[in-house]
Amino acid sequence: MTLDATLPAQRLDLGRRLRAYAGIARVLSRTVMAYRSNFLVGSLGLLMQVFLLRVVWTSVFPSDGRTTTGGHAVTLGAQIAYSTLATVQFSLFSPWQVSMVPQRVRDGTVAVDLARPVGFNGQMFFGQVGFTLGNAPFALLALPFAILVGGAQPPSSAGTAGLYALSLLGGYLISLLLGSLMGMVAFWTLEIQGILMVYRMLSQFLAGALVPLWFMPGWLRGISQWLPFQGTTYTPIAVYLGQLGGALRAIGVQAVWVLVLWLLLRLVWSRALRRVTVQGG
């Protein structure tokens, strides 16, 4: 059946809405705990990746452990710290399940979500936040092991650490919004595994999760700089390592992307709502 595009007549007040969102996030964070044995297995792949990146960078760097690129110097230590942090952060921010929407559409529970007195996008958004919060302790647990097989560097100053926290938030919001946009595709086609795979691989590369933008060939760096993906991974870590000249400007770019993607999501959602098909109703 196709739902009428009318929203519930009464919206809840802000306090009750926030409590509802917090409840959704809590439930989703608990579903992660139910699959905690996946953690060990998932971490193993993560540590292998970290180790491989370290071995490759070590083998190609000149023996004095430093190189220059695009006018600024990169040490081997900084490069290994980058790849270690990027791998852990990307795995936490960009899980294979980028959004709850495809699953809800596929099994028809989207009908229940739409009938609730809080916004659909809010539910999906905070559900995904809960999912990340459930996974965060595992990522934090894996981090020391990743540093052991990879490497780390402290932030250059307290100010840098503060900017990093800000940039990390921006990076997470961009990841979430991009994932939500991809999830919307489920309203047009149910078979979205292929599209999600293409998205994941392209976004991983363009985010700088494997090669930082400073080592990308000029034309590719140009493309990456004009896309939102670099804001998810490259920007926060480059800020952390003090590799960016204008950290505040980079965080400003992140903020612009958050706004643009949020507006885009609203636009796509207004169209998707007219296409909702409930399976198995």
């Binding site: 297995v41 795979m197 590719l220």
Partner: protein
């Protein structure tokens, strides 16, 4: 029914019939097919894109240029596709044992393994094949290889041998599932992950302990690295004897014969879950 038992359908015909049915089932979902294939190509391609970016900046990895690295990558990926296309059902081994699905395979007049492998199929490995052959074709002119007929035959033997090495490890461990119920994490998250992550690099970049382990404990070097050294005239830099590198494609058939026997041997220990 007695005629069926005394005149069974030949084994190869059983295989082809069931293979056809499995593929016909998969090709019902055309809309997703193209994107799944592109996704499959990108999934493997992102590793090569990383290598390409590193070489664009530093000129080499472990002393190998882009043509040589792409050739190694292409050999490994093609070998990987060559076994995952017919054997991708091994993924569901644990689940099939736990659910007691082997009950029905055991009472039907067709090979147990044949039925299991063609119960359904997965199209994603086709993406690996497209990617692998594409990289191999592009790299075969870029890499310094003398393409004599012998070299071409050796390459084909390498791909078949490499596919059988990977396949044997998976099939052998699947045999253990009849007793242990669950070997997925060991097979896929450990062994397959190592193969996919480390298999496309010259082993000289790794510490010597790891090089030894990836040659003699887990025979990753035999899949693509050792024979690629032969074709690239690089056996001089190996830490094993050149004759061993030359003979690398022979390991696959030997391991496969052992794994096949082992799998059927373990099948005797299958206990239906009764569901």
């Amino acid at each position: 029914m007695a005629t069926v038992a005394s005149n069974p359908v030949p084994a190869h015909r059983q295989y082809l019939l069931l293979l056809h049915a499995a593929w016909r089932g998969q090709l019902q979902y055309r809309g997703n097919l193209v994107l799944t294939l592109i996704g499959g190509v990108l999934y493997q391609g992102v590793g090569l894109a990383f290598v390409w970016a590193v070489v664009a900046k530093f000129g080499h990895v472990g002393g190998w240029g882009m043509g040589e690295l792409a050739f190694l990558y292409g050999v490994r990926l093609t070998a990987h596709a060559a076994w995952t296309i017919p054997f991708n059902r091994l993924n569901s081994m644990d689940w099939m044992v736990q659910r007691g699905e082997f009950d029905r395979y055991l009472i039907r007049p067709a090979g147990t393994l044949t039925q299991f492998l063609n119960w359904s199929t997965n199209i994603q490995p086709l993406g690996d094949l497209i990617g692998g052959v594409g990289v191999l074709v592009a790299a075969s002119s870029a890499a310094p290889i003398d393409w004599s007929p012998t070299a071409v035959l050796y390459l084909l033997a390498t791909i078949a041998g490499g596919a059988l090495v990977e396949c044997s490890l998976q099939l052998g461990l699947c045999g253990l599932s009849f007793r242990l119920q669950a070997t997925y994490a060991l097979r896929m998250n450990f062994i397959d992950n190592i193969m996919n992550n480390f298999g496309g690099y010259p082993l000289t970049i790794f510490p010597s302990v790891m090089r030894f382990a990836l040659t003699f404990l887990l025979p990753l070097a035999f899949v693509a690295y050792l024979p690629a050294n032969v074709l690239l005239h690089r056996t001089g830099e190996l830490s094993v004897a050149p004759w061993l590198a030359w003979c690398a494609p022979l390991l696959g058939p030997l391991l496969f014969a052992a794994a096949y026997k082992f799998w059927y041997g373990q099948l005797k220990h299958y206990k239906s879950s009764g569901t």
